[in-house]
């Protein structure tokens, strides 16, 4: 045997291995092959290949593993059970950048499924290795590491705290300053995942100076980056007034409003979420948004978008209006009521209707002026319809009832109340009649109108239990009219008249 022949055997073996991992990696990218691969025992075959002497084979094996683990949590668990993670973590610090990328991909794929799996990734000491990868020069490695860290942190506060304790935050903040768009995106998303759990975590991210850099990227033309940036900013500002104020101090305000006109749906939604999270904290912050023209922009946005994208905008209007009557008036003059009414009638889904009803209730509950503005938009019958609809969810029913009650208790605009007299159930009718009983004694024109529009007749037809509030209101209304008119409209009065005719004895 010559030396060449001996070497040829090795060469063939290496070629076969290479071909095997490459084919497996390719097969693993199609979901329909996964089960077959799993049954064929691919895990136990790939594991030794991770330790192969040829770097290409190692990388491809890691890639195949990552694709398998990405598919479902059973396979991810198999990766954990197979003790593959320690090898990967060990080699994360050692190997070249391609391998690092592939290993980070496997870690990410394992960590994404459940908190337990993410915890097992953390238990292998992956965090430190990943944080070191963030310091790597190659943007691809940084991207993969940031992605994995983000997937680990997104599950719960403990895991996010572990990520923060490993010192990832300053490096992620550095990553968002890199020129590569995809790295920026993923770093922003990781920061967003870290901050979403608790005020302390968000404060840590803020202390690392993330807000200024995130705020700079608001006007970036890349839509996917903007999604993540706005998501991160809203996750930061949702926790407390201080954090929201810090976000506002980055002078995001007139600039973010332009993003409400973005063609990308998710950008719009995330911007509206950001505005909502800021507005919900204090009247001052809401006032600031209103003064920047934010309400008009949000109202336009609510009008332009459909479905779930609308929801944060609707809630933002509600939060702003809930703070004070002045702000509610600002929403009204920005034509917010009309858009909310359209959303209430157009949207088929219950939770969006419920949000619209809630927002309208918040707008109308302050003064008669507010209630009138809401009532004039013909909202009350729609709210009543939402409340009475048979297939409405419980949340929608309670929200629309609350809103109706809030608005009715302030409403003195009688033309809007009259239709409710005819088709409201007793618990709503009580408030409607109550409003009539408050207004009618003081307004002669309204009394006249009330009779001609057959309101009085309707009142007489109501059967109220004596002693209840409703009966009292009816009594008050009846007292504002002469007895004959009240009698005339009482049901059964014609019979009484005929009876009198019978009993009458002519004197002649």
């Amino acid at each position: 045997m010559s030396q060449r022949q001996v070497l040829q055997v090795f060469e063939q073996y290496q070629k076969a291995r290479t071909q095997f991992v490459q084919t497996v990696a390719e097969l693993a990218s199609r979901p329909q092959n996964i089960e077959t691969l799993q049954n064929a025992g691919v895990m136990s075959l790939l594991r030794p290949l991770l330790l192969d002497i040829v770097p290409t084979i190692q990388q491809t094996a890691a890639l195949a593993l990552g694709r398998l683990a990405n598919y479902n949590d059973d396979l991810a668990e198999a990766v954990v059970k197979g003790d593959i993670l320690p090898q990967l973590v060990y080699s994360l610090a050692e190997q070249n950048r391609f391998y690092k990328k592939a290993a980070a991909f496997v870690l990410r794929a394992v960590a994404k499924h459940s908190p337990q799996l993410a915890q097992s990734v953390v238990d292998c000491g992956a965090l430190d290795a990943l944080v070191i990868c963030l310091e790597e020069f190659d943007p691809g490695v940084k991207e993969a590491a940031a992605w994995a860290l983000g997937y680990i942190a997104r599950h719960n506060a403990e895991l996010a705290q572990a990520v923060v304790d490993a010192g990832a935050v300053p490096l992620l903040v550095l990553c968002i300053q890199e020129p590569e768009l995809s790295l920026k995106r993923i770093a922003a998303s990781a920061l967003s995942d870290i901050c979403k759990h608790s005020p302390e975590l968000a404060q840590t991210v803020v202390d690392a100076g993330a807000i200024a850099h995130l705020a700079q990227m608001i006007l970036n033309p890349d839509a996917k980056l903007k999604r993540q940036v706005f998501s991160a900013l809203s996750q930061i500002s949702k926790h407390s007034v201080d954090l929201a104020e810090m976000v506002v101090e980055a002078e995001i305000f007139p600039a973010v409003l332009t993003c409400l006109k973005d063609p990308d749906e998710y950008v719009k939604k995330n911007v509206a979420t950001l505005i909502r999270e800021i507005a919900k904290h204090t009247p001052e912050l809401s006032q600031l948004i209103v003064n920047a023209g934010g309400v008009a922009a949000v109202v336009d946005y609510v009008g332009d978008s459909k479905g779930n994208v609308r929801l944060p905008g609707i809630m933002m209007l509600g939060y702003v209006a809930a703070h004070s009557e002045n702000l509610a008036m600002a929403v009204i003059v920005s034509k917010g009521v009309v858009q909310l009414a359209i959303a209430l009638s157009e949207e088929p889904e219950d939770h969006i209707q419920a949000a619209s009803a809630w927002a309208l209730g918040q707008i109308g509950r302050h003064t008669p002026e507010h209630a009138k503005a809401v009532a004039v938009a013909n909202v009350l019958p729609k709210l009543l319809q939402c409340y009475l609809r048979a297939d409405a969810s419980e949340d929608l029913q309670t929200k629309s009832k609350k809103a109706l009650k809030n608005i009715l208790q302030k409403c003195v605009h009688l033309p809007a109340l009259e239709p409710l007299l005819h088709d409201a159930p007793p618990n709503i009718l009580k408030h409607v009649v109550g409003q009539f009983s408050k207004v009618l004694p003081h307004d002669s024109k309204a009394r006249r109108l009330f009779v001609t529009s057959a309101g009085l007749k309707k009142i007489q037809e109501i059967k109220a239990e004596p002693g209840s509030a409703l009966a009292e209101y009816i009594n008050t209304i009846n007292n504002c009219y002469p007895e004959e008119i009240v009698k005339y409209y009482s049901p059964g009065y014609s019979d009484a008249l005929l009876e009198r005719v019978e009993q009458y004895n002519p004197k002649a």
């Binding site: 003790d83 993670l85 320690p86 973590v89 060990y90 610090a93 097992s120 953390v122 238990d123 292998c124 000491g125 430190d128 290795a129 944080v131 070191i132 572990a162 923060v164 304790d165 490993a166 010192g167 302390e200 404060q203 840590t204 202390d207 690392a208 007139p254 409003l257 332009t258 409400l260 006109k261 973005d262 063609p263 006032q287 209103v290 003064n291 920047a292 023209g293 309400v295 008009a296 922009a297 336009d300 002045n326 008036m329 600002a330 003059v333 920005s334």
Partner: protein, 353 residues
């Protein structure tokens, strides 16, 4: 004695007289008694009446004085009260006026100023219009940009297609597929084909690169100048000594440390160190913590420092020197604050309500 005798003589007479008188008196006695009683009664009556009248007069006098005194006292008291009530009412009225004015002022300035609110809302409407216009313009501009881009893309794709199918163009003799002989005019594609250049095959990179002035490649060899540059006629001085020049020309090579060290020296040293370590190690399997929860999490040596993590940002957010505090309790003012003045200039700033 005579007198005695006379008396004795006259005794009967006297007795007679006495009887007579007595009888007379007896006869008159009851009447006189009644008369005297009447007289006495009248007298006594008038005397007592007079006395009682006197007493009544005195009592009236006393009562009058006393009542006058009491009345004057009551009057003084009453007047005092009246004045007090009057003053009180007056002051209340004034206080109400002051309060009314103050409350009006306060509410208009700090709580609800109708005109300011109105102005604010009007300004807000204008601001909203401006923002709406701006956003509209921005959206339109973005839309235009996108449209332009997509048009350019479409156009490029069309042109590429036309170039690709350029070989289907009709010639003078044979009409192409786009130039149907059954129609009066050729189709639009025909004109497009005529307007573009045919797609050529990719140029293969020539292997014998000439000299590239952009320094991207030198090809196989450096270009050789056709002729040498002309020499000047006379060498220009002053020159150094020939020995010195000779020494400098053939002096020993003295590289810097960086140049002298091998480029891979660091890696080699690391390899060597690892090999040495491997010799001393008993077990090759590195024990890696996998899923033990009872131990503390051990960070790598690489990422720790002797200074540890900053407590700032995780344990606390603001510096405070508790040991320098005089007392643990926060300071409190002695005088309770006046709530209205606390609110002053706090709820209000220029330009907003």
């Amino acid at each position: 004695m005579a007198a005695m005798v006379r008396l004795l003589n006259e005794t009967d007479n006297i007795v007679e007289t006495a009887y007579q008188r007595k009888n007379a008196a007896e006869a008159e006695r009851i009447q006189e008694f009644a008369a005297s009683v009447k007289v006495q009664a009248w007298f006594r009556g008038s005397r007592v009446r007079c006395y009682v009248k006197h007493l009544n007069k005195c009592a009236t006098q006393i009562q009058r004085r006393w009542r006058g005194f009491l009345g004057r006292q009551f009057f003084r008291y009453y007047v005092k009260n009246c004045v007090l009530v009057m003053k009180l009412n007056f002051y209340n009225l004034q206080a109400t006026k002051v309060q009314k004015v103050w409350r009006g002022y306060y509410v208009r300035k700090y709580v609800f100023n109708y005109y300011s609110r109105k102005r604010y809302l009007e300004a807000l409407v204008i601001k909203n219009d401006i923002i709406r216009n701006e956003l509209e313009e921005y959206a339109e501009q973005q839309e235009q940009n996108r449209r332009r881009e997509s048009e350019a893309k479409d156009k490029a794709a069309r042109e590429r297609l036309a170039r690709k199918y350029h070989y289907l163009i009709s010639t003078h003799v044979i009409p192409g597929v786009f130039n149907s002989p059954y129609q009066p005019y050729p189709g639009p594609m025909e004109y497009t084909l005529a307007s573009v250049k045919p797609l050529m095959h990719k140029k293969k990179k020539s292997t014998n690169n000439p000299y590239d002035p952009a320094w991207k490649s030198y090809g196989h060899e450096l270009p050789k100048p056709q002729q040498l540059p002309p020499l000047p006629h006379k060498p220009q001085g002053p020159f150094r000594e020939p020995d010195e020049v000779q020494n400098q020309r053939y002096k020993e090579f003295q590289p810097t440390l960086r140049v002298a060290t091998s480029f891979t020296a660091l890696d080699e040293a690391r390899e060597k160190m690892k090999a040495e370590e491997w010799v001393g190690r008993i077990n090759d399997d590195i024990f890696v913590p996998f899923s033990r929860r009872d131990h503390m999490y051990e960070p790598l040596l690489h990422s720790t420092s002797k200074f540890g993590h900053l407590p700032y940002g995780t344990n606390y957010f603001r510096e405070e020197f508790v040991d320098k505090h005089v007392t643990r309790m926060p300071f409190k003012t002695v005088v309770p604050p006046i709530p209205v003045f606390e609110k002053l200039n706090d709820t209000y700033s220029q330009g907003q309500v």
